[in-house]
Symmetry: none
Subunit: 249 residues, 2 copies
DNA sequence: TTCTAATATTTGTCTAGTTGTATAGGCCAA
DNA sequence: TTGGCCTATACAACTAGACAAATATTAGAA
């Protein structure tokens, strides 16, 4: 059915079909036909709509993905991406505070809560014995619906029996700890390094595997120096800048 | 044969998500998070943690079951059968650089010294006019004969006429500045983020292009708040972690 | 308390839809 | 001839949902 049905003036313009499709779809997004985060029609449907092969549509979508307009997820679909904005993380440890201060809407999403045995490094950080039970809080940090970081917080289960339940109700770690009797806690040490995103980290952060990741590990403790939380955070390096003020150093 | 003249990031190996999950869980077992005979989180929980469909988790668990690491019991759960026999130990970072010390490192090597016009961003950081002369100090930081960072320090040439000469004699920035009449200076702000190594950075740091880099940019100023140095440092992410003490945060 | 039944949870299996990748070939212009 | 563009096919990887089968948990009755 193909049979070069192109109009004669198209031969003169020499616009590649895939490019015109990209323009058309980009226009649709700009017009608001597809909102941020919503799914585009599948490649099969789009190829039917434009009357071309699926690969031609893919060429157009690849171009749009490279410009950061859309974001594809295998098996799921192609979604309209929110433009990634570089995000400054302030000196404060409390995630909620420094994000709301910057005017962006902070959010946390629980990925998994569990209680399991502590590994050797976790035990050392929390000053407990390896194999002792710990609560694990895997989560995702978002700013304006945009994933900023994945994190894992580990708490000693012994002194905090009801923590997981408290975390389920309140999203905030600080509030959950307060409900378990930990009034205040401070960060004792933080370590920063750069890593490459693994495949699963890349999925969560909507970046590509091998993208730069800013990894932060730290221990929070009670006022009397007892470690209460061992946290790791992986920030999307191309979205986050950690800022330290003058008095911090 | 194909169009392999693409971007170099094509060289990045794409790990299947299920394989990445299998590695992660195997790691957890090796670390002792899940002891022999204990139950793993349910497939539903794991799929939430990794942000994937349950079938993808099942693919990972199937792989691990085939290796004899776990065994599943319908209606009950997946249990740890054995610890991985041969497990690759993750490479430890070699150096812990304390950022409180203002980026001081054991040894430095001068790569280039020059005086040129300031760019717009450099001028803004140093609070001078764009095009004003600045001294540029490109260097390499080493520890234990291993390169750990490349850096670039930019100084306003106006108030520091003899700085380059002083830097050539003494390696230390502090000593050179002291020789130019700057007795003391403090860090005013530091920004940290993760990047990928460029070709030249990779060459200097003896890492591969695309390796993770921890980038630190900061401004040092005199006691009266006048900016005196605009510095950028690129740390090799797999060799260096920055440590922030409790008082730094 | 103990047993039973109902309910919930968990793994196993199936079908279907979607994107990613590889291969092969035709057409056309430089 | 080469390279860009488009078509065509096949398969892999992942998602989505549904249901079955085995087990665990809980509530209620004896």
């Amino acid at each position: 059915m193909t049979e070069t049905e192109q109009t004669p003036d198209l031969a003169r313009a020499k616009t590649a079909v895939w490019k015109s499709i990209a323009i058309s779809l980009t226009d649709d997004i700009a017009q608001g036909c597809y909102e941020q985060g919503s799914k585009l029609p599948s490649e099969a449907k789009l190829s039917a709509r434009f009357g071309v092969n699926r690969h031609t549509v893919r060429r157009a979508l690849a171009e749009m993905a490279e410009q950061g307009l859309v974001h594809a997820r295998r098996g799921s679909g192609v979604f309209v991406a929110a433009r990634p904005t570089e995000y400054p993380i302030g000196k404060r440890v409390r995630f909620h505070q420094n994000i709301s201060r910057g005017g962006q809407v902070p959010a946390k999403r629980i990925l998994m809560l569990e209680t399991r045995a502590a590994s050797a490094t976790e035990a050392e950080a929390l000053q407990i014995a390896a194999g002792d039970p710990v609560h694990v809080y895997d989560g995702l940090s978002l700013a304006d619906e945009h994933p900023i970081a994945v994190f894992q917080s580990i708490f000693p289960a012994g002194p905090l029996p009801g923590l997981l339940h408290a975390l389920e109700e309140r999203q905030s770690v600080t509030a959950a700890l307060a409900a378990c009797g930990v009034a205040d806690y401070t960060r004792q040490e933080t370590r920063l390094t750069a890593k490459l995103a693994t495949a699963t980290q890349a999925l969560h952060l909507q970046i590509s595997e091998g993208a730069p990741i800013l990894r932060s590990t730290g221990v929070n403790g009670t006022v009397d120096g007892k470690p209460i939380e061992f946290g790791k955070t992986w920030f999307a390096g191309d979205r986050v800048t950690l800022t330290l003020g003058a008095q911090d150093i």
